[in-house]
Amino acid sequence: MSIVIQTQKLSRSYETYQRQEGGWNVVKGFFNRQVQVKYALKPTDLAIEAGQIVGLVGANGAGKTTLLKILSGLICPTGGEVKVLGFNPFDRKADFLRQISILLGQKAQLWWDLPAADSFNLLASIYGLDKAQAKKDWLSLAERLRCTDQLHTQLRRLSLGERMKMEIIGSLLHRPRVLFLDEPTIGLDVLAQKTIRNFLTEYVNEYRPTIILTSHYMDDISQLANRLLLISQGTLVFDGALSEFVRYAELQLNLDIKSEETNFEEVIHKFFEKESGGGQNRHPISN
């Protein structure tokens, strides 16, 4: 298997400033801002093989989205090296962009004022796809996601679930080799989540893309991913198969796992509880 994503000591820090409350501090802050440097991603080594479905899990602000943004070329790393499909993502070469796709669950990427069908036609032109074939593809994807009826409705008039289905079609239209899915089921009802999960499972089996998936719904991760990356406060704390995680957590994270039948989702929740309870210990990646 070839490596499609590789990072060495990849990191990203941000400069932010803080201002105390109150009118006088607004005036002070206007002239003198106290800049702070924060690490969203601490030096990270990673290698992902072609065809792997990687679940990237962590609490809010852990660094998941930052990692996805760097890998997709949206933001520039402040340290280390990264290669995706042999390209430096931040160069954003057209050949690279034609082979990847990123879906940001919290951010609409299609055109708000247009029906999705118009957006798909535009995307087909941007990616240089055959128009007739592209139409056949988006119609087929819409059928599988059960949203054919909404294709000609303005995006702004669709429900969140319907909109997300359109976003998924838009991100898959050019059949990317690497797909970054950032919380694709966020805010959706159980039925819509299930439809999207089942659709992605079918898609993965058919086209075998490499996927990095982040989600706060562990059903997404357990159904789709065959490898788990656990990230906490900008540091990868676990990298391995889902089946290994429960055993690893028990042994190395000192979590209180009572039953032998404890499942992956419960262990993740326990891990988050421990983390939010002030656990400051960082654990090295075991494998």
Partner: protein, 264 residues
């Protein structure tokens, strides 16, 4: 080219989706502006008891006012500049940064598409007004004027892109657009024909690329200047385009380095 045409088509579809807003923007607003400007010029000339001003008569100023507001509308960029700022400020730019089309190119195509449809829908108004008021008009010069205007629009878009890229550093910069447009209107001669300014201001203004936004095309169409003088504006636009283009590139590349992909 196919993607540019597709983006231009999307602009036309998006803007005509909201029909009332489109009609106000393309037809009603230029009509109101024209009425105001014509009234001011006619009142000024009558009030001062002048038959000519700067060597040009009432009809000439009437024609200038009719065309200046129309062409000034065409060469003003605010909607797509605002959209570019908003995209950077809110992080919606992510949707374009990960596609094989540049942000500049995408919005240039949209901008040109929209301006093209604006021209198609509103060009008849100043022509009709000139005919009704018997104001001087050289219709045979219109194709060359429109070509030069399209070239000027590339410069205008580059300027807008440069301003919008400041959002990478300052986030909320929506107040920049009206100030920039006001300055351009003055420098382009929309409010006062540039040949009325005293020397050496007049010469400097005529050399600037902004003069090609209103003064040169309107003066050429209404017979105030000849072809040779009009073609000088090509050089001004080209210099402006090169300078703004370099500036835009520097700000864009630096902006991307500090961009944090806000809100996603």
């Amino acid at each position: 080219m196919r993607r540019n045409l597709a983006a231009a088509k999307i602009a036309i579809l998006s803007q005509t989706e909201y029909r009332f807003n489109f009609a106000v923007d393309v037809v009603i607003q230029p009509m109101v502006s024209t009425a105001i400007e014509v009234t001011i010029w006619m009142a000024l000339l009558s009030g001062m008891g002048l038959e000519t001003l700067g060597g040009f008569g009432r009809e000439s100023y009437l024609a200038y006012a009719l065309w200046a507001t129309f062409i000034g509308r065409i060469t003003t960029s605010w909607m797509y500049e605002f959209q570019m700022m908003e995209q950077i400020d809110t992080g919606r730019i992510n949707g374009l940064l990960t596609r094989p089309i540049s942000f500049y190119e995408f919005y240039l195509s949209q901008f040109m598409g929209y301006k093209l449809i604006c021209i198609v829908f509103s060009l008849g108004l100043p022509i009709l007004a000139c005919w009704i008021f018997s104001a001087p008009l050289h219709l045979d010069r219109l194709p060359l004027v429109l070509l030069m205007l399209l070239y000027f629009l590339v410069f205008v878009h580059t300027l807008s892109f440069t301003v919008a890229c400041m959002a990478f550093f300052l986030n909320r910069i929506y107040s920049f657009t009206p100030i920039k447009n006001l300055l351009i209107w003055v420098l382009a001669g929309e409010l006062i024909p540039l040949d009325l300014y005293p020397e050496p201001i007049r010469s400097w203004l005529l050399l600037s690329p902004f003069a090609a936004g209103v003064y040169y095309p309107v003066s050429y169409l209404t017979g105030r200047i000849g072809t040779e003088a009009f073609l000088q504006s090509f050089t001004g636009i080209t210099i402006g385009l090169v300078v703004t283009g370099l500036l835009a590139r520097v700000i864009w590349l630096r902006g991307l380095r500090v961009y944090t992909g806000t809100g996603a």
